[in-house]
């Protein structure tokens, strides 16, 4: 088990390095440096700026310098926000992104699993069919359409929640969290429903029933544990969807998280900022995939460690 975890972590190192290398070299090769738009600068000032940011060194030296910095959690200076380092921007924005991300994942897990169980137990009933429709809507319609629609409904028409903004109040957080959770609610409820139906037919559940265990106990203790496995295996992809979705949700609702920095950075060609966010988010998704694999190994005895 421990050996498997260590092997899995070592296996992720090339992916992380590839992520860093790709973002680094793409950013260096991309046209239009951060100072290119500003025509008022003289040659000497540009040369000095390039020197200050080590842009005059050979690319491989810059890459080494960047890797060395990463080891010290130093993502370099931001080229747009001159007074801040990328690390400072991330430290500033990440808690906000983390907050809505974690809540959205929890909400998706609880609601998705609950809807899936209801759907499986009352198959083809009214609840099941409406859950199916909600799930399909959540899968098919992207968050950047649903988000503004919910803004119109709850913000403009009903006036229950603020349309956008981030003042730290609970009300301002509800819509972003719900919108971020929606795609995962859809996927998890589908996944849970399918695996629950399959598990209820499994031999061990029939054995439990045959031994005279009550229906409630069979569902909650025996079937549920087995049916949870595909949902746990989905933890990795769910993290990726949440991380990507947070970029959209922060844009729609004007939330000062790092997803917004990523979009702004990409628009302004603020290389270190884009790279910092990419590496941080990529690292989180890679980590989530490792945790998922290890968790599956612990919970499901059928998963081999090969």
């Amino acid at each position: 088990m421990l050996a498997f975890s260590i092997r899995r972590i070592i296996g992720a190192v090339p992916t992380l390095l590839a992520l860093i290398a790709i973002s680094f070299f793409v950013m260096r090769l991309a046209p239009g440096g951060p100072f290119a738009a500003n025509r008022k600068l003289t040659e000497a000032i540009i040369a000095n700026l390039n020197k200050a940011y080590h842009l005059d060194e050979p690319v491989w030296m810059q890459f080494g310098r960047y890797l060395w910095g990463l080891l010290h959690f130093d993502f370099g200076p931001s080229m747009k926000y001159r007074d801040f380092s990328v690390t400072e921007l991330i430290v500033h924005g990440f808690p906000v992104s983390l907050e809505i991300g974690v809540w959205a994942m929890l909400l998706a897990g609880v609601v998705g699993i609950a809807l899936g169980i209801v759907g499986a137990l009352r198959r083809n009933g009214v609840t099941d069919l409406s859950v199916g429709i909600i799930a399909m809507v959540g899968v098919a319609i992207p968050t950047f359409v649903i988000g503004p629609l919910l803004q119109i409904l709850f913000g403009l028409k009903l006036g229950w929640l603020p349309i956008a903004g981030w003042d730290g109040s609970v009300n301002a957080k509800i819509l972003p969290i719900v919108v971020l959770a929606l795609p995962n609610i859809a996927y998890i409820s589908r996944l849970m429903r399918g695996s629950m139906i399959e598990t209820l037919r499994a031999n061990y559940v029939r054995t439990a029933r045959a031994k005279g265990i009550g229906a409630r106990r069979v569902v909650w203790k025996h079937a549920l544990t087995g049916a949870m496995l595909p949902v746990i295996a989905y933890l990795g992809p769910a993290t990726a969807i949440t991380v990507t979705g947070s970029v959209i949700v922060e844009q729609i609702f004007g939330i000062p998280g790092i997803g917004r920095y990523f979009v702004e950075g990409a628009a302004n060609r603020d290389y270190p900022l884009v790279m910092g966010v990419t590496i941080l988010y990529g690292g989180i998704v890679i980590l989530a995939n490792i945790v998922t694999d290890v968790a599956r190994g612990i919970i499901d005895p059928k998963v081999s460690y090969e």
Binding site: A12, P14, T15, L16, A18, L19, I22, S23, V26, M27, L29, A30, P31, M136, V139, A140, I141, P142, F144, V145, G147, P148, L149, Q151, I152, L156, I163, A240, V243, T244, V247, I248, Q251, I252, F262, V263, A266, A267, R269, V274, V277, T278, Y281, G282, V285, I286, N289
Partner: protein, 299 residues
Amino acid sequence: MSDLVAGTAQPPETTTSVGQSPLKASWRRFSRNKLAVGSMIILALIVLACFASPLLFPFGPEDADFDNIAAPIDLFSAHPFGTDEFGRDLLLRVLVGGQVSLAVGFVGALTAVIIGVLYGATAGYVGGRLDNFLMRTVDVLYGIPYFFLVVLINLLVGRTVTGLFVSIVVVLWLTPAVIARGQAVSLRHREFVDAARAGGMTEWQIIRQHIVPNSLNVVIVYSSLLVLEVIITESFLSFLGLGIQPPASSWGSLIDTGARAIETDPRLLLLPGGFLATTLFCLNFIADGLRDAFDPSER
């Protein structure tokens, strides 16, 4: 186990008689699925509307009609869904924007599938060290959340329609590669391939009559899902302002404009959003229908 089910689900003569190829049998199953066929018709209408009907409008998508600024919805006027604050026809703008979304979606998915299948099939058939090397590379790239890769590569190739197309294809060929490789490896060792070989078929006959039709199923099903993914990715980027740049527009960038104007004119959001959502719904149903038709064991 599932192979057995797939084998028995088709009548035995499907492999021998000329008029009953597995592909045709699958197509018959698909055409009985009303939801999928209906979706296909609606999608065809949307494609037709986007690419043909702008020719029928006497004005262009960027032409301002100063007599009708911010005109309301009036289905029998020159501007059926009205105009925006610059007097541009809303419907025409959405249809022309759809050209970009649909073209990038279909051509992008097709290109990604071709690259992926060639790559994956090579790895699977050749096997050995080459397979190991090719698939290790895919594994490494696969661990990275693809949205960030697309944005990075898009910065390199530029925010034009071609640039968008290239950056999406460069990232999204990975899954078809994995699928095609798995298919190639598993088919090589299947009983019916052994049986065909024992029965005296040449390698070329086996490839043509067994390997290709059997891989085609999976590829067709996956391609329909990929179209969905490419369209969403393109809209996603354009929505964030990282995709297509004005004056060109796609559904994503129109939704962005609409989302900023929800307090003044919800039509700007609802029209492109509705077209995009309908397209995605249709593609979902078509993909489901294709999966049921081509892969009965999956049901």
